[in-house]
C-alpha cells in the first residue's frame, strides 16, 4: 500500500513538474506583427538596435516583432524553404546575389518594389534581383582581410598565392554551402581560375587549387565564427575571408589601422567579386503590409546611415556620406573591377549546385593529385566485391544447415 502511495506521489509530482517547467512563449503568436529571419551578425558590432528603431517608426511595441537570428544566411533561406507551406517569417534578410537563385527556385519570396528604390546605387537592383524578389540594402567586395602585425602582407595578390602552405596555415575560410562570404570566395576562385561556360565544369587548375589548400586552411560555418577565431590569439590565424570594407572596423572604432584587405591584382587592375545583400518579403507571409513597411524602412536614410559603422559594408543607398576612416583604411569599390560579369546570374542558376558538389568533393579529397574517376570506381567495386566474397561461404554454410 505504501509503495502504491509512493508511486502515485511520483506520478503526481512528475505531472506537476511538467506543468511548472512547461515553457511558454514570451509573446502570444497572435500578438506578433512582424517576424524577421536573419543572420546573427547583422548590424551587430558595435550594434544598432534596428528592431527598437523600427518599432518606434512603425508605432508598434518591440515585443510584437519577432527576430529570429540564425548563424548564417544559408540557414535563413533553408529555414524559410522548410516552412514554405506554412510561412512563419514575413521578411528574410541577408540573401545575396549568389543565393537569390536558390530562393527563386524554391519559390519562397514574393516580388515587392519599394518606393525607395530610386535612391539606391545604380546597378544594385539589376545585380541582385531585377524581378524585385529582393531589395538590396548593402554591398561589399569579397577580400582576404589580414592583421599586419601577424602577417607581412601580399604583393600583387592572386588566388594562386594561397598555394603557399605557410599562408594556408593563417587563413580562415567560411563554408560556401552555408555562408555568403564563403560562397562569394568560391565564386571569386572560379572567376579567376576558370570554368567551362557551357557545362559549368571547373578547370583542373581550380580543382587542384582546392586539393592543395584543403589540409591547412581552417573552415568555419559562418563569418561570425571566423571573426571570433581571427581575434583569438590562441587560434593563430591572421587572415580571413571577409570584405574590402573590414579594415574600417578597427580604424573607425579604435583608430587602429593594423588590418588590411587584399583582392586580386591582375594586369595592374584590382579585381573582385561583388556581393550584394538584400531583404525580401516571404511569399504568403502572415504580415505582408508590415513586412513591406519594414523593407521600405530598411532602405531609408535612417537605417542606411548605420550600415557603414555597424554592418561594415557599403550602404545600398547612394547619398550616404562615407566616413573619413573608411577612405583612410579601405579600397574604394569604385576602383575595383567586378568579376561578376564573368559569372552571370544564368551561370549561377544553372551551375551552382554542380560547383558546390565539386567544391565539397575536392575539399574532402585526401590525395595529392587529381583523382582518376575510373580508379575510384574500381576501388569501390573491389571493396564491395570483397565483402560479397567474404559472405558467400557463410551464406552457403547457412543454407546447408537449413
Amino acid at each position: 500500500m505504501k509503495n502504491q502511495r509512493n508511486f502515485s506521489f511520483l506520478l503526481v509530482s512528475i505531472i506537476l513538474l511538467l506543468t511548472v517547467f512547461s515553457p511558454t512563449p514570451t509573446t502570444a503568436d497572435n500578438d506578433i506583427k512582424l517576424t524577421i529571419y536573419t543572420y546573427d551578425s547583422l548590424l551587430a558590432d558595435p550594434g544598432y538596435d534596428f528592431i527598437g528603431n523600427f518599432s518606434e517608426f512603425a508605432g508598434i511595441d518591440r515585443d510584437e516583432i519577432r527576430l529570429v537570428l540564425l548563424s548564417d544566411s544559408g540557414s535563413v533561406l533553408s529555414r524559410a524553404v522548410l516552412e514554405k507551406n506554412s510561412p512563419q517569417a514575413d521578411v528574410l534578410i541577408g540573401i545575396d546575389n549568389a543565393m537569390v537563385h536558390t530562393a527563386r527556385a524554391n519559390d519562397v519570396l514574393t516580388a515587392y518594389e519599394s518606393p525607395n528604390l530610386e535612391f539606391l546605387r545604380e546597378g544594385l537592383v539589376e545585380g541582385l534581383a531585377p524581378d524585385h524578389l529582393l531589395t538590396p540594402y548593402d554591398y561589399g567586395v569579397i577580400s582576404l582581410w589580414y592583421d599586419k602585425n601577424r602577417f607581412e602582407g601580399f604583393e600583387d595578390f592572386t588566388i594562386s598565392d594561397l598555394l603557399d602552405s605557410d599562408i594556408q596555415k593563417q587563413v580562415i575560410l567560411q563554408d560556401p554551402r552555408m555562408s555568403s562570404p564563403g560562397l562569394g570566395f568560391m565564386l571569386w576562385t572560379l572567376a579567376e581560375l576558370g570554368f567551362d561556360t557551357e557545362s559549368g565544369d571547373p578547370t583542373d587548375e581550380w580543382k587542384e587549387f582546392w586539393i592543395d589548400i584543403n589540409d591547412d586552411i581552417l573552415l568555419t560555418n559562418s563569418w561570425g565564427d571566423a571573426i571570433n577565431l581571427f581575434f583569438t590569439p590562441e587560434a593563430d590565424r591572421s587572415i580571413m575571408v571577409s570584405y574590402t570594407s573590414s579594415p574600417a572596423y578597427g580604424a573607425c572604432l579604435f583608430g587602429d589601422y593594423s588590418t588590411e584587405s587584399v583582392i586580386s591584382s591582375v594586369s595592374d587592375e584590382m579585381k573582385g567579386w561583388f556581393q550584394i545583400e538584400g531583404l525580401g518579403l516571404v511569399k504568403d507571409a502572415p504580415n505582408q503590409n508590415m513586412g513591406k513597411k519594414f523593407i521600405d524602412w530598411f532602405v531609408s536614410e535612417e537605417l542606411q546611415s548605420q550600415i557603414y559603422q555597424n554592418q561594415w559594408m557599403y550602404p545600398a543607398r547612394d547619398n550616404i556620406e562615407i566616413p573619413a576612416c573608411y577612405s583612410d583604411s579601405t579600397l574604394s569599390p569604385d576602383e575595383i573591377e567586378a568579376y561578376n560579369p564573368m559569372i552571370t546570374p544564368n551561370h549561377i542558376e544553372n551551375h551552382l549546385n554542380l560547383w558546390l558538389d565539386e567544391w565539397e568533393f575536392y575539399w574532402t579529397y585526401d590525395g595529392d593529385d587529381l583523382p582518376n574517376t575510373d580508379q575510384i570506381i574500381s576501388a569501390h567495386v573491389s571493396f564491395i566485391g570483397l565483402i560479397i566474397l567474404a559472405l558467400i561461404p557463410k551464406i552457403y554454410k547457412k543454407r546447408k544447415s537449413w
Partner: protein
Amino acid sequence: MGKRLGRLIGVFPLSFILFFYMVPVFYLLIRSISFESLNRTLSLRVLPNVIYFTIYQAVMTTIVCVVIGTIFGYILARSNIYFNKTLSAAIIVPFLMPPISMIIGFVVLFGSNGLIVQILGLSQPLFSVFRNPLAIIMAHSLYNIPLVTRLVCNSFQTESLAHHEVADTFSKSRLTKLKLITIPHIRSTVMASALLTFLYSFNSFAIVLLLGQVRYQTIEVLIYSRVALLLDFQTAFALSLLQIIFNTIFIIIYLFITRRQQEIVSFTYFVPRYTIWKRVGSTLIMILFVIVLWSPIIATLHQFIYLFTTATEGEQLRLVSGAYLNVLGTSPIRVILNSIFLGFSTALLAVFLSLSIMFAIPRGKSYEAFSSYFLILPMVTSTVTLGVAILISYGFWRLFTQNIWIFLLVSHCLAALPFTSRALLNAWRELSSKLLEVANIYSNSNIKILKDVVFPLLKSAILVSFLFAFAISLGEFGTSFLIARGEWVTLAVAIGRLFTTQSSLLPTFFALLLSLVSFLVFFIIERFAQLELKI
C-alpha cells in the same frame, strides 16, 4: 487483461508508430524512388568517399572496441577483482553520456589547450582533434568500448562450469579450453556487440559533424548537409533510402545473432581462482581503464571549474542572462527548461505507449518475436532521416510548425520507444502467467488487478523505462538539431550551436549538466534494476 480491451489499448501505440513513423518514412521512400533523385545522388562526386569513410570509420571503431572491450571484459569477468560491482557499473557510464557531451569532453581533453597538453606540458596537442579520422575513431571508441566490455564481460561470466570440469577431467590445455569452450560461448555476444558498435558508429551524427568539419562526412552528415544547407531534398531522400537499406540489413543480422544467443545460456557459471597479487594487479588495471574511459567527463568537469573560477562576474552572469540570445535563439535557462519539459514528456509518453504495447500483445512466443521486430523499426532509420521524414510529411501543418515541440517530443519518443518497450516487455514476460490467472479468479476488475498485482511487480521496470526515456530525450541530437527552432532549443542542440563559437563556459556547463543528469539516471537505474544495454 481482456482480449478486446488489450486490442483497444493497442490502438494508441499502433496509431503513434503508424502516424509518426510509418507514414513519414513510407512517404520519404516513395519520394526517393525516382529516376531524378537516384540519378542526382549517384552522380554526387562526394558520395563514394562518404560511403567509404562511413564504413571505414565504423569498421575501425568496431575492431578497436572489440579488441579492447574483449580484453577488459575478460579481466573484469575472470580476475575476481576487488570492487567488482562498482567498477562494472563505472565502466558503462560513458556509454550513457549523450554523444554531444562526449565531444565536448573529447575536445577539452585532447584539444590544443586541452587537459593532456597542460598535464604533459606539450607545446602542441598529440593529434589534431578536428578533421582527423583518427580523432573520430577515437571518440567513437571511447564511447562504445564500455558497451562491448560490459556485454562481453556478462558473456564470460555465464560460461558453463560443467564444460570446464569435463575439460579438466581430460586434462585439456588452456588453449584447447579457450578454443573449444570459451570462444564458442562468447562468439555470438562478441558478434552482437560488434554489430551494435558498428551500427552506432555507422549512424553517428554529432561526433562526425562536429569533429569531421566537412572534410570527413558519414552518410548521416551528408543527409543533414543536403537538407539543412543545400535544400537538396531529392538527394537527401535517396541517401536516406540507402541508409535505411544498410541499417535494415545490420539489424536483421543483429536480431538473428541475439536470438541464437538466448538459446545457449547456461546456469552454472565458471569462476576461476586467482592469487591475491593477481587480483590486486587486475583491480589496478581496471581502475586505470575506468579513468581512461571517464577522462572526457573528468576533463569537462575540470574545464568548467577552471573557466568558472577564472571568469569575471559578468561572464558568470552570462550563464543565466540573455547574452547568448543571438546564438541560441533563447536564454540558457529556457534551454534547460525545454530539456526538462521534453525529457519528462517523452518519458511519460514512451512509458504510456510501451505499457499499451505490453498489454496489447498476447503472451506467446510468436507474438513476442513479431513485436520485437516491429518495435525495433524506428532504429532502422537514423535520427536525421527520421527528422527529414517528419518534416516533409507534416511540415506543412500549421499545428506543427507553430508548435515545434510536438515534433521534438515525437522524435524523442520514437528514439526511446525501442528501449522502453523492450524493458517493459521483458519484465512482463517474466511475470508468471499463473499469477495473473489466479488474480483473474479472485477479481473481476481489470483495474484492480493492474493496481494490486501488475503495477507493483512491474514498478522497477516502469521506473527504468521512464528514466531511460528521459535520458534519451535529454541527449537526442540528430533530429533535434535539424528541426529545433525558435525558443525550442534543447541542451544538446545548444551545445551543437555553441560548439563553433569561442565561448566555452556555457557549452562546458551544458555538457556537464547533461553528463551529471545521465549519471544520476544511471545511478538510479542500477539501484533498482539491471540496465538492458542491448536493443
